[in-house]
Protein backbone atom coordinates (compact mmCIF):
# COMPACT_ATOMS: atom_id res chain seq x y z
CA UNK A 1 0.00 0.00 0.00
CA UNK A 2 2.80 2.37 0.92
CA UNK A 3 4.60 1.42 -2.22
CA UNK A 4 1.49 2.14 -4.20
CA UNK A 5 0.95 5.58 -2.68
CA UNK A 6 4.58 6.51 -3.34
CA UNK A 7 4.07 5.47 -6.87
CA UNK A 8 1.01 7.65 -7.19
CA UNK A 9 2.80 10.62 -5.64
CA UNK A 10 5.68 10.05 -8.03
CA UNK A 11 3.34 10.06 -10.97
CA UNK A 12 1.49 13.14 -9.85
CA UNK A 13 4.67 15.15 -9.46
CA UNK A 14 5.71 14.08 -12.93
CA UNK A 15 2.62 14.52 -15.04
CA UNK A 16 4.66 14.78 -18.21
CA UNK A 17 6.35 11.46 -17.61
CA UNK A 18 2.95 9.96 -17.11
CA UNK A 19 1.55 11.53 -20.24
CA UNK A 20 4.51 10.23 -22.20
CA UNK A 21 4.08 6.73 -20.94
CA UNK A 22 0.45 6.82 -21.95
CA UNK A 23 1.24 8.20 -25.37
CA UNK A 24 3.84 5.56 -25.94
CA UNK A 25 1.36 2.91 -24.91
CA UNK A 26 -1.24 4.23 -27.35
CA UNK A 27 1.19 4.72 -30.20
CA UNK A 28 2.90 1.38 -29.87
CA UNK A 29 -0.52 -0.25 -29.79
CA UNK A 30 -1.45 1.49 -32.99
CA UNK A 31 1.69 0.40 -34.81
CA UNK A 32 0.97 -0.22 -38.46
CA UNK A 33 1.18 -3.61 -39.98
CA UNK A 34 3.43 -2.29 -42.75
CA UNK A 35 6.85 -3.90 -43.09
CA UNK A 36 9.68 -1.99 -41.47
CA UNK A 37 11.32 0.08 -44.23
CA UNK A 38 14.96 -0.72 -44.71
CA UNK A 39 16.15 2.17 -46.88
CA UNK A 40 15.34 5.58 -45.35
CA UNK A 41 15.67 9.00 -46.97
CA UNK A 42 15.08 12.23 -45.05
CA UNK A 43 14.66 15.81 -46.24
CA UNK A 44 14.80 17.35 -42.80
CA UNK A 45 17.80 18.18 -40.63
CA UNK A 46 15.93 17.51 -37.40
CA UNK A 47 14.63 14.17 -38.55
CA UNK A 48 18.17 13.35 -39.65
CA UNK A 49 19.47 14.02 -36.16
CA UNK A 50 16.83 11.81 -34.58
CA UNK A 51 17.37 9.05 -37.14
CA UNK A 52 21.08 9.13 -36.41
CA UNK A 53 20.26 8.14 -32.84
CA UNK A 54 17.51 5.69 -33.70
CA UNK A 55 18.68 3.57 -36.64
CA UNK A 56 21.87 2.05 -38.03
CA UNK A 57 23.58 4.42 -40.40
CA UNK A 58 23.59 1.85 -43.24
CA UNK A 59 19.84 2.32 -43.48
CA UNK A 60 20.12 6.04 -44.20
CA UNK A 61 20.33 6.35 -47.99
CA UNK A 62 20.03 10.14 -48.11
CA UNK A 63 20.02 12.97 -45.58
CA UNK A 64 19.63 16.71 -45.83
CA UNK A 65 22.74 18.66 -46.86
CA UNK A 66 22.21 20.89 -43.81
CA UNK A 67 22.95 17.95 -41.54
CA UNK A 68 26.45 17.82 -43.01
CA UNK A 69 27.02 21.54 -42.40
CA UNK A 70 28.85 22.14 -39.12
CA UNK A 71 27.16 25.53 -38.81
CA UNK A 72 23.77 23.91 -38.38
CA UNK A 73 24.36 20.41 -37.24
CA UNK A 74 26.19 18.97 -34.21
CA UNK A 75 26.65 15.65 -36.03
CA UNK A 76 28.11 17.13 -39.22
CA UNK A 77 31.49 15.45 -38.76
CA UNK A 78 29.96 12.01 -38.31
CA UNK A 79 27.64 12.09 -41.33
CA UNK A 80 30.24 13.18 -43.88
CA UNK A 81 30.19 9.86 -45.73
CA UNK A 82 26.41 9.71 -46.20
CA UNK A 83 24.76 10.81 -49.49
CA UNK A 84 23.22 14.26 -49.19
CA UNK A 85 20.12 15.79 -50.78
CA UNK A 86 19.06 19.39 -51.29
CA UNK A 87 15.34 18.71 -51.14
CA UNK A 88 15.13 17.74 -54.83
CA UNK A 89 13.09 14.78 -56.04
CA UNK A 90 15.71 13.77 -58.61
CA UNK A 91 18.28 13.24 -55.87
CA UNK A 92 15.98 10.88 -53.99
CA UNK A 93 14.38 8.71 -56.70
CA UNK A 94 17.54 6.91 -57.96
CA UNK A 95 18.33 5.82 -54.40
CA UNK A 96 15.08 3.80 -54.28
CA UNK A 97 14.21 4.46 -50.65
CA UNK A 98 11.48 2.47 -48.93
CA UNK A 99 10.34 5.56 -47.07
CA UNK A 100 10.93 9.28 -47.41
CA UNK A 101 10.64 11.40 -44.27
CA UNK A 102 10.00 15.12 -44.27
CA UNK A 103 8.99 17.84 -41.84
CA UNK A 104 5.65 19.59 -41.85
CA UNK A 105 6.87 22.50 -43.99
CA UNK A 106 9.66 20.97 -46.06
CA UNK A 107 9.95 21.31 -49.83
CA UNK A 108 6.22 21.01 -50.68
CA UNK A 109 6.78 20.83 -54.43
CA UNK A 110 9.38 18.08 -54.15
CA UNK A 111 7.10 16.08 -51.88
CA UNK A 112 4.15 16.42 -54.25
CA UNK A 113 6.35 15.18 -57.06
CA UNK A 114 7.65 12.27 -55.01
CA UNK A 115 4.10 11.25 -54.15
CA UNK A 116 3.14 11.36 -57.82
CA UNK A 117 6.03 9.01 -58.49
CA UNK A 118 4.48 6.54 -56.03
CA UNK A 119 7.01 7.00 -53.29
CA UNK A 120 6.01 6.52 -49.67
CA UNK A 121 6.37 9.94 -48.07
CA UNK A 122 5.68 10.51 -44.37
CA UNK A 123 5.51 14.01 -42.93
CA UNK A 124 6.15 14.64 -39.27
CA UNK A 125 4.52 17.64 -37.58
CA UNK A 126 6.63 20.28 -35.85
CA UNK A 127 6.64 19.85 -32.09
CA UNK A 128 5.04 22.75 -30.23
CA UNK A 129 4.86 21.32 -26.74
CA UNK A 130 6.90 18.96 -24.62
CA UNK A 131 4.31 16.27 -25.21
CA UNK A 132 4.65 16.84 -28.97
CA UNK A 133 8.38 16.22 -28.79
CA UNK A 134 8.02 12.83 -27.24
CA UNK A 135 5.20 11.85 -29.56
CA UNK A 136 7.29 13.00 -32.52
CA UNK A 137 10.12 10.76 -31.40
CA UNK A 138 7.75 7.81 -30.97
CA UNK A 139 6.01 8.49 -34.25
CA UNK A 140 9.33 8.49 -36.07
CA UNK A 141 10.51 5.40 -34.20
CA UNK A 142 7.29 3.69 -35.18
CA UNK A 143 7.83 4.44 -38.87
CA UNK A 144 11.35 3.05 -38.89
CA UNK A 145 10.92 0.36 -36.26
CA UNK A 146 13.12 1.61 -33.44
CA UNK A 147 10.81 1.67 -30.43
CA UNK A 148 13.36 0.62 -27.84
CA UNK A 149 15.88 3.33 -28.66
CA UNK A 150 13.10 5.89 -28.79
CA UNK A 151 12.03 4.90 -25.30
CA UNK A 152 15.58 5.47 -24.02
CA UNK A 153 15.69 8.84 -25.72
CA UNK A 154 12.37 9.91 -24.25
CA UNK A 155 13.35 8.65 -20.80
CA UNK A 156 16.47 10.80 -20.90
CA UNK A 157 14.51 13.90 -21.88
CA UNK A 158 11.95 13.21 -19.17
CA UNK A 159 14.69 12.87 -16.54
CA UNK A 160 16.15 16.26 -17.47
CA UNK A 161 12.72 17.87 -17.56
CA UNK A 162 11.81 16.46 -14.16
CA UNK A 163 15.06 17.80 -12.71
CA UNK A 164 14.01 21.22 -13.95
CA UNK A 165 10.57 20.73 -12.48
CA UNK A 166 12.09 19.88 -9.11
CA UNK A 167 13.34 23.48 -8.91
CA UNK A 168 9.77 24.66 -8.75
CA UNK A 169 9.49 24.69 -4.98
CA UNK A 170 6.50 26.95 -4.80
CA UNK A 171 8.37 29.92 -3.33
CA UNK A 172 7.90 33.43 -4.74
CA UNK A 173 8.41 32.94 -8.51
CA UNK A 174 11.04 35.02 -10.32
CA UNK A 175 9.98 37.15 -13.28
CA UNK A 176 11.63 36.47 -16.61
CA UNK A 177 11.69 37.15 -20.33
CA UNK A 178 12.89 34.64 -22.89
CA UNK A 179 14.65 37.08 -25.24
CA UNK A 180 15.31 35.70 -28.64
CA UNK A 181 17.02 37.05 -31.76
CA UNK A 182 15.53 40.12 -33.49
CA UNK A 183 14.25 41.51 -30.19
CA UNK A 184 11.59 38.83 -30.01
CA UNK A 185 10.19 37.68 -26.67
CA UNK A 186 8.48 34.34 -26.39
CA UNK A 187 4.96 34.22 -25.01
CA UNK A 188 2.28 31.67 -24.28
CA UNK A 189 1.70 28.57 -26.37
CA UNK A 190 5.35 27.76 -26.94
CA UNK A 191 7.85 25.17 -25.81
CA UNK A 192 9.88 27.93 -24.19
CA UNK A 193 6.91 29.10 -22.15
CA UNK A 194 6.28 25.54 -21.04
CA UNK A 195 9.88 25.20 -19.85
CA UNK A 196 9.64 28.49 -17.95
CA UNK A 197 6.45 27.33 -16.28
CA UNK A 198 8.03 24.04 -15.30
CA UNK A 199 11.00 25.85 -13.81
CA UNK A 200 8.64 28.02 -11.77
CA UNK A 201 9.36 31.29 -13.58
CA UNK A 202 6.80 33.99 -14.31
CA UNK A 203 6.90 34.61 -18.05
CA UNK A 204 6.38 38.37 -18.32
CA UNK A 205 5.68 38.10 -22.05
CA UNK A 206 2.79 35.72 -21.44
CA UNK A 207 1.54 38.00 -18.65
CA UNK A 208 1.42 40.85 -21.17
CA UNK A 209 -0.99 38.70 -23.15
CA UNK A 210 1.54 37.73 -25.79
CA UNK A 211 1.02 34.49 -27.65
CA UNK A 212 3.83 32.89 -29.58
CA UNK A 213 6.73 34.98 -30.81
CA UNK A 214 6.44 38.77 -30.66
CA UNK A 215 8.82 41.65 -30.99
CA UNK A 216 9.02 43.72 -27.81
CA UNK A 217 10.40 47.24 -27.71
CA UNK A 218 13.66 47.36 -25.78
CA UNK A 219 12.36 50.23 -23.64
CA UNK A 220 9.33 48.18 -22.62
CA UNK A 221 11.48 45.18 -21.88
CA UNK A 222 13.66 47.23 -19.52
CA UNK A 223 10.63 48.95 -17.95
CA UNK A 224 9.14 45.59 -17.00
CA UNK A 225 12.27 44.99 -14.87
CA UNK A 226 12.57 41.23 -15.29
CA UNK A 227 14.67 39.44 -12.68
CA UNK A 228 15.93 36.95 -15.23
CA UNK A 229 16.66 37.30 -18.93
CA UNK A 230 17.01 34.05 -20.83
CA UNK A 231 18.95 34.24 -24.10
CA UNK A 232 20.15 31.53 -26.43
CA UNK A 233 23.68 31.03 -27.63
CA UNK A 234 24.17 31.64 -31.31
CA UNK A 235 23.46 28.47 -33.22
CA UNK A 236 26.05 29.26 -35.82
CA UNK A 237 29.15 31.32 -35.40
CA UNK A 238 28.39 33.36 -38.48
CA UNK A 239 27.25 36.96 -38.25
CA UNK A 240 23.58 37.72 -38.03
CA UNK A 241 21.91 41.10 -37.73
CA UNK A 242 19.22 39.43 -35.66
CA UNK A 243 21.70 38.84 -32.86
CA UNK A 244 22.81 42.46 -32.76
CA UNK A 245 19.81 43.04 -30.52
CA UNK A 246 21.40 40.96 -27.81
CA UNK A 247 24.57 43.06 -27.76
CA UNK A 248 22.82 46.33 -26.95
CA UNK A 249 24.66 48.11 -24.10
CA UNK A 250 21.33 48.92 -22.41
CA UNK A 251 20.99 45.20 -21.68
CA UNK A 252 24.47 45.08 -20.21
CA UNK A 253 23.78 47.90 -17.75
CA UNK A 254 20.36 46.62 -16.68
CA UNK A 255 19.92 44.75 -13.43
CA UNK A 256 18.92 41.15 -14.12
CA UNK A 257 20.43 37.72 -14.09
CA UNK A 258 21.38 36.61 -17.59
CA UNK A 259 20.86 32.93 -18.36
CA UNK A 260 22.49 31.61 -21.51
CA UNK A 261 21.06 28.43 -23.00
CA UNK A 262 22.25 26.22 -25.85
CA UNK A 263 20.70 27.19 -29.17
CA UNK A 264 18.41 25.11 -31.30
CA UNK A 265 15.13 24.93 -29.43
CA UNK A 266 13.43 26.81 -32.23
CA UNK A 267 15.22 24.60 -34.76
CA UNK A 268 15.47 20.96 -33.79
CA UNK A 269 13.66 20.97 -30.49
CA UNK A 270 13.59 17.22 -30.07
CA UNK A 271 17.34 16.82 -30.24
CA UNK A 272 18.22 19.65 -27.84
CA UNK A 273 15.31 19.89 -25.41
CA UNK A 274 17.04 17.71 -22.82
CA UNK A 275 20.22 19.78 -22.91
CA UNK A 276 18.31 23.05 -22.76
CA UNK A 277 16.31 21.87 -19.76
CA UNK A 278 19.51 20.67 -18.10
CA UNK A 279 21.39 23.94 -18.56
CA UNK A 280 18.37 25.98 -17.49
CA UNK A 281 18.15 23.89 -14.34
CA UNK A 282 21.86 24.35 -13.56
CA UNK A 283 21.77 28.09 -14.22
CA UNK A 284 18.70 28.69 -12.09
CA UNK A 285 20.04 26.54 -9.28
CA UNK A 286 23.15 28.75 -9.04
Amino acid sequence: MRMFSMCVVGLITKPIVMAMGFLFFVLSGAATAQAVPERIASLNICIDQLLWELVAQQRLVSISYLTADPIWSPIADQVKTLPLNHGLAEEIIPLKPDIILAGEFDAPTAIELLKKLNQRVERLPLPRTLADINSQIFQLADLVGAGEKAQQMVNKINRQVSALQALNTGSEPLTAFWYSANGVVIGDGTLEHELMQLAGLRNLAAERGMYGFNQLDLELLLSAKPQILIVEESQDRSFSLAREYLSHPALASADFKLVRLPAGLSGCAASVIGDVAGVLQQELAK
Binding site: G183, E219, L222, S223, F239, S253
Partner: protein, 335 residues
Amino acid sequence: MNLRTHISFPLLCGLLITALVVASVFALNTGLADISVVAGLRDFVNGETTLAANVIGQIRLPRLILALIIGATLGMSGAAMQGLLRNPLADPGVLGVSSGAAFGAICTLYFGVAASAWYWLPGAAIVGALFTLFMVYVLAGLHGSMLALILAGTAMSSIMVALIAVTLNFAPSLYAMQEIVFWLLGSLANRHFDHVSIALPLAALGWVMMLSRSRFLDALSLGEDSARSLGFNNHRERGILLLGISIAVGACVAVSGAIGFIGLVIPHLLRPFVGYRPGRLMLASALGGALLLVLADILVRQFDSARELKIGVVTSLIGAPFFLFLILKTRSRWA
Protein backbone atom coordinates in the same frame (compact mmCIF):
# COMPACT_ATOMS: atom_id res chain seq x y z
CA MET B 1 12.26 87.20 -56.60
CA ASN B 2 9.83 86.52 -53.85
CA LEU B 3 9.44 87.01 -50.14
CA ARG B 4 11.28 83.82 -49.28
CA THR B 5 14.62 85.01 -50.50
CA HIS B 6 14.57 87.93 -48.09
CA ILE B 7 15.38 85.69 -45.17
CA SER B 8 19.08 86.14 -44.47
CA PHE B 9 21.34 83.09 -44.30
CA PRO B 10 22.22 83.44 -40.59
CA LEU B 11 18.51 83.84 -39.77
CA LEU B 12 17.66 80.71 -41.79
CA CYS B 13 20.34 78.71 -39.98
CA GLY B 14 19.16 80.12 -36.65
CA LEU B 15 15.57 79.06 -37.37
CA LEU B 16 16.64 75.58 -38.44
CA ILE B 17 18.81 75.15 -35.34
CA THR B 18 15.95 76.28 -33.07
CA ALA B 19 13.64 73.81 -34.75
CA LEU B 20 16.29 71.09 -34.36
CA VAL B 21 16.60 71.76 -30.62
CA VAL B 22 12.82 71.61 -30.17
CA ALA B 23 12.59 68.42 -32.24
CA SER B 24 15.45 66.87 -30.25
CA VAL B 25 13.67 67.54 -26.96
CA PHE B 26 10.57 65.89 -28.41
CA ALA B 27 12.63 62.95 -29.64
CA LEU B 28 14.08 62.38 -26.15
CA ASN B 29 10.55 62.40 -24.78
CA THR B 30 9.34 59.91 -27.37
CA GLY B 31 9.41 56.27 -26.42
CA LEU B 32 7.39 53.53 -24.83
CA ALA B 33 9.10 53.53 -21.43
CA ASP B 34 7.38 55.75 -18.88
CA ILE B 35 10.31 57.66 -17.40
CA SER B 36 11.42 61.20 -16.63
CA VAL B 37 13.82 62.55 -19.24
CA VAL B 38 15.45 65.05 -16.90
CA ALA B 39 16.03 62.48 -14.18
CA GLY B 40 17.32 60.05 -16.79
CA LEU B 41 19.83 62.54 -18.19
CA ARG B 42 20.97 63.50 -14.67
CA ASP B 43 21.45 59.90 -13.63
CA PHE B 44 23.18 59.06 -16.89
CA VAL B 45 25.67 61.92 -16.48
CA ASN B 46 26.29 60.91 -12.87
CA GLY B 47 26.95 57.36 -14.00
CA GLU B 48 24.07 55.79 -12.10
CA THR B 49 22.39 52.73 -13.53
CA THR B 50 18.73 53.47 -12.95
CA LEU B 51 16.10 52.46 -15.47
CA ALA B 52 15.65 56.08 -16.58
CA ALA B 53 19.40 56.55 -17.07
CA ASN B 54 19.59 53.36 -19.05
CA VAL B 55 16.68 54.19 -21.33
CA ILE B 56 17.72 57.79 -21.93
CA GLY B 57 21.47 57.28 -22.07
CA GLN B 58 21.76 53.95 -23.83
CA ILE B 59 18.68 53.93 -26.04
CA ARG B 60 17.23 57.36 -26.84
CA LEU B 61 20.34 59.54 -26.77
CA PRO B 62 22.44 57.50 -29.21
CA ARG B 63 19.40 57.17 -31.45
CA LEU B 64 18.88 60.94 -31.49
CA ILE B 65 22.55 61.62 -32.11
CA LEU B 66 22.57 59.16 -35.01
CA ALA B 67 19.45 60.75 -36.50
CA LEU B 68 21.21 64.12 -36.36
CA ILE B 69 24.45 62.82 -37.90
CA ILE B 70 22.79 60.78 -40.63
CA GLY B 71 20.18 63.39 -41.49
CA ALA B 72 22.85 66.06 -41.74
CA THR B 73 25.05 63.85 -43.88
CA LEU B 74 22.27 62.93 -46.29
CA GLY B 75 21.09 66.52 -46.62
CA MET B 76 24.56 67.86 -47.16
CA SER B 77 25.58 65.12 -49.61
CA GLY B 78 22.42 65.70 -51.61
CA ALA B 79 23.21 69.41 -51.87
CA ALA B 80 26.84 68.67 -52.76
CA MET B 81 25.88 66.13 -55.43
CA GLN B 82 23.30 68.44 -56.97
CA GLY B 83 25.89 71.22 -57.07
CA LEU B 84 28.64 69.01 -58.41
CA LEU B 85 26.52 67.38 -61.13
CA ARG B 86 24.56 70.61 -61.67
CA ASN B 87 21.50 68.46 -61.66
CA PRO B 88 18.51 68.77 -59.33
CA LEU B 89 17.76 65.05 -59.37
CA ALA B 90 21.03 63.95 -57.79
CA ASP B 91 20.76 62.20 -54.41
CA PRO B 92 22.78 59.43 -52.73
CA GLY B 93 19.78 57.08 -52.78
CA VAL B 94 18.54 57.76 -56.32
CA LEU B 95 22.00 57.42 -57.85
CA GLY B 96 22.79 54.13 -56.12
CA VAL B 97 25.51 55.49 -53.82
CA SER B 98 23.65 54.16 -50.78
CA SER B 99 23.27 50.75 -52.45
CA GLY B 100 26.99 50.73 -53.19
CA ALA B 101 27.74 51.54 -49.58
CA ALA B 102 25.32 48.86 -48.43
CA PHE B 103 27.05 46.34 -50.68
CA GLY B 104 30.39 47.17 -49.10
CA ALA B 105 28.92 46.96 -45.60
CA ILE B 106 27.24 43.61 -46.27
CA CYS B 107 30.46 42.08 -47.60
CA THR B 108 32.17 42.75 -44.27
CA LEU B 109 29.17 42.01 -42.03
CA TYR B 110 28.36 38.53 -43.29
CA PHE B 111 31.84 37.19 -43.77
CA GLY B 112 33.08 37.95 -40.29
CA VAL B 113 35.45 40.74 -41.28
CA ALA B 114 33.44 43.49 -39.58
CA ALA B 115 33.98 41.92 -36.19
CA SER B 116 37.77 41.89 -36.48
CA ALA B 117 38.28 45.67 -36.34
CA TRP B 118 35.93 48.64 -36.20
CA TYR B 119 37.16 50.29 -39.41
CA TRP B 120 36.28 47.43 -41.78
CA LEU B 121 32.55 48.08 -41.81
CA PRO B 122 32.61 51.83 -42.58
CA GLY B 123 35.75 51.38 -44.69
CA ALA B 124 34.09 48.90 -47.02
CA ALA B 125 30.91 50.98 -47.16
CA ILE B 126 32.94 54.03 -48.13
CA VAL B 127 34.75 52.12 -50.88
CA GLY B 128 31.39 50.85 -52.19
CA ALA B 129 29.92 54.36 -52.15
CA LEU B 130 32.98 55.86 -53.81
CA PHE B 131 33.02 53.25 -56.57
CA THR B 132 29.33 53.74 -57.37
CA LEU B 133 29.50 57.51 -57.28
CA PHE B 134 32.59 57.51 -59.47
CA MET B 135 30.95 55.19 -62.01
CA VAL B 136 27.78 57.29 -62.17
CA TYR B 137 29.88 60.40 -62.55
CA VAL B 138 31.96 58.91 -65.35
CA LEU B 139 28.94 57.41 -67.11
CA ALA B 140 26.71 60.45 -67.05
CA GLY B 141 27.98 63.33 -65.00
CA LEU B 142 29.97 64.93 -67.74
CA HIS B 143 27.05 65.19 -70.16
CA GLY B 144 24.84 67.12 -67.84
CA SER B 145 21.83 65.31 -69.29
CA MET B 146 19.30 64.41 -66.64
CA LEU B 147 18.10 61.33 -68.43
CA ALA B 148 21.64 59.99 -68.71
CA LEU B 149 22.26 60.68 -65.03
CA ILE B 150 19.12 58.97 -63.79
CA LEU B 151 19.68 56.01 -66.10
CA ALA B 152 23.28 55.64 -65.01
CA GLY B 153 22.20 55.89 -61.38
CA THR B 154 19.44 53.33 -61.84
CA ALA B 155 21.82 50.98 -63.65
CA MET B 156 24.48 51.24 -60.95
CA SER B 157 21.86 50.83 -58.28
CA SER B 158 20.55 47.65 -59.93
CA ILE B 159 24.07 46.29 -60.28
CA MET B 160 24.75 46.92 -56.61
CA VAL B 161 21.47 45.33 -55.49
CA ALA B 162 22.25 42.31 -57.67
CA LEU B 163 25.73 42.07 -56.17
CA ILE B 164 24.18 42.22 -52.70
CA ALA B 165 21.92 39.31 -53.59
CA VAL B 166 24.81 37.28 -55.00
CA THR B 167 26.92 37.98 -51.92
CA LEU B 168 24.15 36.97 -49.55
CA ASN B 169 23.73 33.70 -51.45
CA PHE B 170 27.21 32.77 -50.34
CA ALA B 171 26.83 34.04 -46.80
CA PRO B 172 27.10 31.35 -44.12
CA SER B 173 23.96 32.57 -42.35
CA LEU B 174 20.77 31.13 -43.85
CA TYR B 175 18.71 34.12 -42.77
CA ALA B 176 21.01 36.69 -44.36
CA MET B 177 18.65 37.43 -47.23
CA GLN B 178 15.55 38.11 -45.12
CA GLU B 179 17.53 40.18 -42.68
CA ILE B 180 19.12 42.36 -45.26
CA VAL B 181 15.86 43.10 -47.04
CA PHE B 182 14.73 44.86 -43.87
CA TRP B 183 18.12 46.35 -43.13
CA LEU B 184 18.22 47.97 -46.58
CA LEU B 185 15.04 49.88 -45.78
CA GLY B 186 16.97 51.84 -43.20
CA SER B 187 16.32 52.06 -39.49
CA LEU B 188 17.59 53.72 -36.34
CA ALA B 189 15.94 51.27 -33.95
CA ASN B 190 18.14 49.84 -31.20
CA ARG B 191 21.31 51.57 -32.39
CA HIS B 192 23.78 52.44 -29.64
CA PHE B 193 26.90 54.46 -28.90
CA ASP B 194 29.17 51.99 -30.71
CA HIS B 195 27.34 52.98 -33.87
CA VAL B 196 27.76 56.67 -33.04
CA SER B 197 31.48 56.21 -32.60
CA ILE B 198 31.72 54.52 -36.00
CA ALA B 199 29.63 57.09 -37.87
CA LEU B 200 30.53 60.40 -36.24
CA PRO B 201 34.28 60.78 -36.91
CA LEU B 202 34.03 59.73 -40.55
CA ALA B 203 30.87 61.71 -41.22
CA ALA B 204 32.52 64.79 -39.71
CA LEU B 205 35.54 64.29 -41.95
CA GLY B 206 33.21 64.09 -44.96
CA TRP B 207 31.39 67.25 -43.86
CA VAL B 208 34.66 69.19 -43.60
CA MET B 209 35.72 68.01 -47.06
CA MET B 210 32.38 69.01 -48.58
CA LEU B 211 32.06 72.37 -46.81
CA SER B 212 35.64 73.32 -47.68
CA ARG B 213 34.63 73.14 -51.36
CA SER B 214 31.65 75.47 -51.10
CA ARG B 215 33.38 78.23 -53.03
CA PHE B 216 34.16 75.82 -55.84
CA LEU B 217 30.51 74.75 -56.02
CA ASP B 218 29.45 78.42 -56.19
CA ALA B 219 31.87 78.95 -59.05
CA LEU B 220 30.84 75.73 -60.77
CA SER B 221 27.22 76.91 -60.91
CA LEU B 222 28.43 79.34 -63.56
CA GLY B 223 29.87 76.50 -65.64
CA GLU B 224 33.04 74.42 -65.93
CA ASP B 225 34.96 77.03 -67.83
CA SER B 226 34.02 79.86 -65.50
CA ALA B 227 35.19 77.77 -62.52
CA ARG B 228 38.48 77.10 -64.29
CA SER B 229 38.97 80.73 -65.20
CA LEU B 230 38.36 81.66 -61.57
CA GLY B 231 41.46 79.66 -60.73
CA PHE B 232 39.98 76.36 -59.54
CA ASN B 233 41.62 73.07 -60.40
CA ASN B 234 38.37 71.40 -61.41
CA HIS B 235 39.72 67.83 -61.28
CA ARG B 236 41.17 68.18 -57.82
CA GLU B 237 38.14 69.98 -56.38
CA ARG B 238 35.79 67.43 -57.85
CA GLY B 239 37.89 64.58 -56.49
CA ILE B 240 37.77 66.03 -52.97
CA LEU B 241 34.00 66.46 -53.21
CA LEU B 242 33.40 62.93 -54.48
CA LEU B 243 35.60 61.54 -51.73
CA GLY B 244 33.91 63.67 -49.07
CA ILE B 245 30.43 62.58 -50.16
CA SER B 246 31.47 58.92 -50.25
CA ILE B 247 33.11 59.01 -46.82
CA ALA B 248 30.11 60.64 -45.16
CA VAL B 249 27.43 58.55 -46.90
CA GLY B 250 29.41 55.33 -46.50
CA ALA B 251 29.88 55.87 -42.77
CA CYS B 252 26.16 56.55 -42.31
CA VAL B 253 24.83 53.70 -44.45
CA ALA B 254 27.15 51.34 -42.55
CA VAL B 255 25.20 51.94 -39.33
CA SER B 256 21.66 52.75 -40.46
CA GLY B 257 21.09 51.02 -43.78
CA ALA B 258 19.94 53.06 -46.74
CA ILE B 259 17.63 55.95 -45.84
CA GLY B 260 16.41 57.49 -49.07
CA PHE B 261 15.32 60.80 -50.52
CA ILE B 262 16.42 63.16 -47.73
CA GLY B 263 19.24 64.37 -49.94
CA LEU B 264 16.76 65.03 -52.72
CA VAL B 265 13.95 66.77 -50.88
CA ILE B 266 15.80 69.01 -48.46
CA PRO B 267 18.11 70.86 -50.87
CA HIS B 268 15.11 71.55 -53.10
CA LEU B 269 13.07 73.03 -50.32
CA LEU B 270 15.91 75.18 -49.04
CA ARG B 271 17.45 76.35 -52.32
CA PRO B 272 15.29 79.48 -52.70
CA PHE B 273 16.19 80.55 -49.15
CA VAL B 274 19.93 80.58 -49.73
CA GLY B 275 19.86 82.64 -52.91
CA TYR B 276 20.51 79.56 -55.08
CA ARG B 277 24.13 79.37 -53.88
CA PRO B 278 25.27 75.72 -53.77
CA GLY B 279 27.95 76.45 -51.18
CA ARG B 280 25.55 77.83 -48.62
CA LEU B 281 22.97 75.24 -49.52
CA MET B 282 25.18 72.48 -48.12
CA LEU B 283 25.16 73.86 -44.57
CA ALA B 284 21.46 74.70 -44.68
CA SER B 285 20.65 71.24 -46.11
CA ALA B 286 22.65 69.57 -43.36
CA LEU B 287 20.50 71.32 -40.74
CA GLY B 288 17.32 70.64 -42.70
CA GLY B 289 18.22 66.98 -43.28
CA ALA B 290 18.90 66.46 -39.57
CA LEU B 291 15.56 68.09 -38.75
CA LEU B 292 13.65 65.91 -41.22
CA LEU B 293 15.24 62.69 -39.97
CA VAL B 294 14.65 63.51 -36.29
CA LEU B 295 11.01 64.28 -37.09
CA ALA B 296 10.64 61.10 -39.16
CA ASP B 297 12.15 59.14 -36.28
CA ILE B 298 9.61 60.65 -33.87
CA LEU B 299 6.89 59.69 -36.33
CA VAL B 300 7.90 56.01 -36.64
CA ARG B 301 7.83 55.68 -32.87
CA GLN B 302 4.20 56.85 -32.67
CA PHE B 303 2.72 53.73 -34.21
CA ASP B 304 2.12 50.89 -31.82
CA SER B 305 2.62 48.01 -34.21
CA ALA B 306 4.19 44.60 -33.82
CA ARG B 307 7.18 45.73 -35.83
CA GLU B 308 8.48 49.27 -35.87
CA LEU B 309 7.92 51.06 -39.16
CA LYS B 310 11.27 51.49 -40.90
CA ILE B 311 12.41 55.08 -41.03
CA GLY B 312 13.64 54.63 -44.60
CA VAL B 313 10.09 53.73 -45.58
CA VAL B 314 8.80 56.99 -44.13
CA THR B 315 11.40 59.11 -45.90
CA SER B 316 10.70 57.26 -49.16
CA LEU B 317 6.97 57.82 -48.79
CA ILE B 318 7.65 61.53 -48.43
CA GLY B 319 10.46 61.64 -50.97
CA ALA B 320 9.35 59.48 -53.86
CA PRO B 321 6.24 61.54 -54.77
CA PHE B 322 8.46 64.58 -54.51
CA PHE B 323 10.89 62.93 -56.92
CA LEU B 324 8.04 62.32 -59.38
CA PHE B 325 6.94 65.91 -59.03
CA LEU B 326 10.48 67.06 -59.82
CA ILE B 327 10.65 64.85 -62.89
CA LEU B 328 7.37 66.27 -64.16
CA LYS B 329 8.48 69.81 -63.42
CA THR B 330 11.79 69.47 -65.20
CA ARG B 331 10.47 67.40 -68.09
CA SER B 332 10.99 70.18 -70.58
CA ARG B 333 14.72 70.11 -69.86
CA TRP B 334 15.16 66.43 -70.58
CA ALA B 335 17.26 65.46 -73.50
